[in-house]
Subunit: 109 residues, 2 copies
DNA sequence: TTTGTTTTTTGCAAAATTGCGAACAATAAA
DNA sequence: TTTATTGTTCGCAATTTTGCAAAAAACAAA
């Protein structure tokens, strides 16, 4: 089973990542995770002015998008960026913004 | 009135852009606009397997996020990327993915 | 076993998103 | 004026998202 790298599938993957980043709280979580060595649930919750159930929900979405991963260290849970997928996202966004710079002089004006 | 460049406001702006890009159809529209010299509504609609009302709705959201702009050329409407905001988005995503590369050796593992 | 700690899940309500057909708006052409 | 052309808006339904409190899960410690 080969990896699907068609334009459509890359666009879908980009949209999936973008959707996960489409909420300020989730962007804040990603930035926080990127700058911390310890990243337990409680640390993340402490940073945010929202209920822990809500934090958990946002973490779940980031996890399902593949941007982060969680590791149980009973009774805590340590969260971190999923480096492999993070790199994939970086690459897709890079390609997206690269090709969309109107090289051909397209666009209005 | 100064421009707000706090971390929180940049995160919010990034989330707004990301949210607009959080749907495969809208990503496809952006890619299409970036590669065309003519970009009338009809051309965009032709590319997509969805009703024109739906296309119009997606264009409206991209416009409200500031990523594109429309210009009436009766009876058509010409759409194009909003270069200024596009550059702003590119910069924000660049910063985001740049700082989140785990420079400090943070993250698990 | 009971208690305590940490996080997830559940249940609920409000709001937003998605998609479509039909109706409408704006203008040019016949 | 009537007719065509091109897009937008409206009204509707189905689904998803967002946020929270309360309950549940998982396990260590007393």
């Amino acid at each position: 089973m080969e990896k699907d790298t068609t334009l459509a599938s890359r666009q879908e993957q980009l949209a999936r990542f973008a959707k996960a980043l489409g909420h300020p709280t989730r962007v804040a979580i990603m930035c926080f995770l990127a700058q911390q060595t310890s990243c337990y649930f409680g640390d993340i919750h402490e940073e945010l002015p929202i209920a822990k159930a809500t934090v958990s929900q946002h973490l779940k979405e980031l996890k399902e998008a593949g941007l982060i991963q969680g590791e149980v260290e009973t009774p805590k849970v340590k969260y971190c960026i999923n480096r492999e997928n993070w790199e994939k996202a970086r690459s897709l966004f890079g390609e997206f913004f690269g090709q969309c710079l109107c090289k051909s002089g397209a666009c209005c004006g």
